[in-house]
Symmetry: C2
Subunit: 340 residues, 2 copies
């Protein structure tokens, strides 16, 4: 099959890879309907994370089940399925508590590489959620978003306890931040403040539910959020970047007793204990347990209550994955969808 | 009146201080029935926090109201009262959300100094909670504990979401940690693991509700907690020390999706973002909003459902405050009660 492989920083090639097969009786093999490039794929692409020899890329996926292993009970060939970037058994104590991304049998889909024609999905019954029927083509981008960026933005909003009566601020205007706005809106937030300096992203943020846009960042941005909230700060802040500056901006923009939901993959961050202590905020985040939310998200998408597919502003054939990475790296695209 | 004053590290003297008076119409003046020395008083006593000229000491207090200002409505002279180490109006948006230690009008009682015969209490109606009647003398230590160490341990247990079915680990065997054990027990925790290397404190921890004692610390202690919890870690961890080692021990002893309630005043702590991110824990803490819990705690103490007064293992007249500090500094005493 054809699949994207990162050879070195900046060097993504779509080339022949071995066809996946059932390796464990709990596996499924799917034919991808769509896959995409994640903001986190840019870390190794930019050489900020080490590239250790040719690496298959991609961890977001929707598609049709081709084949299942002998122990798979609920998932059947022919079903259209969505899964998270972590495979999970969905039965262990950690999964049952809603933390499937830390399942005791978790497997990272990024190591399998879903920017490809086919993919092996471990722990198929625990990992995959089937749509009620074959979705029409225009629903595919939304379902694909559920696989990571929507699930991650949704988790950030839940971790930040966005809800009725709450003012929610969102740090980061990438796909996750933008879908954090959508999630906060859907969860009933009263006011949603998006931090963004890019006009097209500001517009999309407003379309997805932002009531206010703040164009400054750092302490200046924090001061603006305080001005908008009687000097107190937001009840909830979604952090979707992962840098020292963005984390401190999120913590400082939150009122005492408020909640920070952080999902930006942390790079070179050290949180000062005394400032965190006296901030009095709740801090929760990490790799989103997307699987927890998938049944609800699939339902919201297939009933057209939400359209998270809007974050894809570039669609390319899989063979042009390299251009998809470049466009995101240069911030010409928010998020690239790839059609195998 | 007589009151304790810190002149320099190691130099606490009980000397003549001005009698407090009503300065604001919302003030009360109380005659102290008892006060005490806090673990946090040891930071400046040890010179780890700067001592900036002679400083009145103490922020824990119970006593009888002598006089109230003209705007005080609910608190009356003659009442026996308990208050927190932060004065709070208990009406602002932050107080109503349960974060009275970050009240928009918060005043730090430590700046007033309650290791004294009398103390002015700002915002008396919002700060003080009266007992139903004059408590018998043996209830005074418990009520005094509510003023800080019990309220703080209780907050840590609530922030850590201790409750039925939960395994709770407690880092720190000082008065706050020990009363965190009591709080976890009272909140219904199934299993309570106390970290302690001191036999007398281990014994008190067991008396207060600990089911297990771990005598190692750091990563070795974490490994023991994992052994006790199917390799997963505790659901809830109370952190009551405030150092880098104790914070990392607390985070690492918590299972993914679990909760760390941290109340040890943070000193030289920097939390590594990537480890925190991948830990998947909830982190909440800071200066405890003791006032939130005081009505319930006063009720539990006066009905003799709990006896937090057990943490006082040394009682001295106020005039011997210096010996009270020394005994705690040398870990001869867990906590010193002072009788004015």
């Amino acid at each position: 099959m054809r699949g994207a492989v990162l050879h070195a920083p900046g060097d993504v090639r779509v080339e022949q890879r071995p066809d996946p097969t059932i390796e464990q009786p709990t596996d499924a093999v799917i034919r991808l309907a769509a896959t995409c490039v994640c903001g986190s794929d840019l870390w190794p692409y930019r050489g900020i994370e080490t590239v250790d020899g040719p690496a298959p890329m991609g961890h977001e996926y929707v598609g049709v089940v081709e084949e299942v292993g002998s122990d798979v009970r609920d998932i059947r060939p022919g079903q259209f399925v969505v899964g998270s970037f972590f495979a999970s058994d969905n039965t262990c104590e950690i999964c049952r508590a809603g933390y499937q991304s830390r399942c005791v049998h978790a497997e990272l889909m990024g190591a399998i590489g879903t920017q490809a024609e086919y993919a092996r999905i471990p722990l198929a019954d625990g990992t995959l959620v089937a749509t009620p029927d074959m979705p029409s083509d225009d629903l595919v981008p939304g379902l694909l978003a559920a696989s990571d960026v929507l699930g991650t933005g949704w988790f950030a909003a839940v971790a930040g306890e966005a809800g009725p009566g709450k003012t929610v601020a969102v740090v980061g205007d990438g796909a996750v931040g933008l879908l954090g706005v959508l999630a906060a809106k859907q969860l009933g937030a009263e006011r949603i403040i998006a931090f963004s300096r890019h006009e097209s992203r500001q517009q999309l943020a407003r379309e997805l539910g932002a009531t206010d846009v703040v164009t400054t960042r750092g302490d200046e941005g924090v001061a603006e959020v305080k001005d908008l909230t009687n000097g107190l700060g937001a009840h909830s802040v979604i952090e979707a970047v992962g840098t020292q500056e963005s984390m401190m901006q999120a913590i400082r923009a939150t009122r005492p007793g408020g909640h920070v939901g952080y999902v930006g993959v942390s790079h070179d961050v050290a949180l000062p204990g005394d400032e965190l202590f006296f901030s009095g905020v709740h801090l929760h985040g990490g790799p989103a347990p997307v699987r927890r939310f998938l049944p609800e998200l699939v339902d919201l998408i297939t009933t057209r209550a939400i359209d998270p597919g809007k974050v894809f502003d570039l669609e390319l054939p899989l063979d042009q994955a390299a251009e998809g990475y470049r466009a995101m790296d240069e911030r010409r695209a928010i998020k690239t969808l790839l059609r195998p």
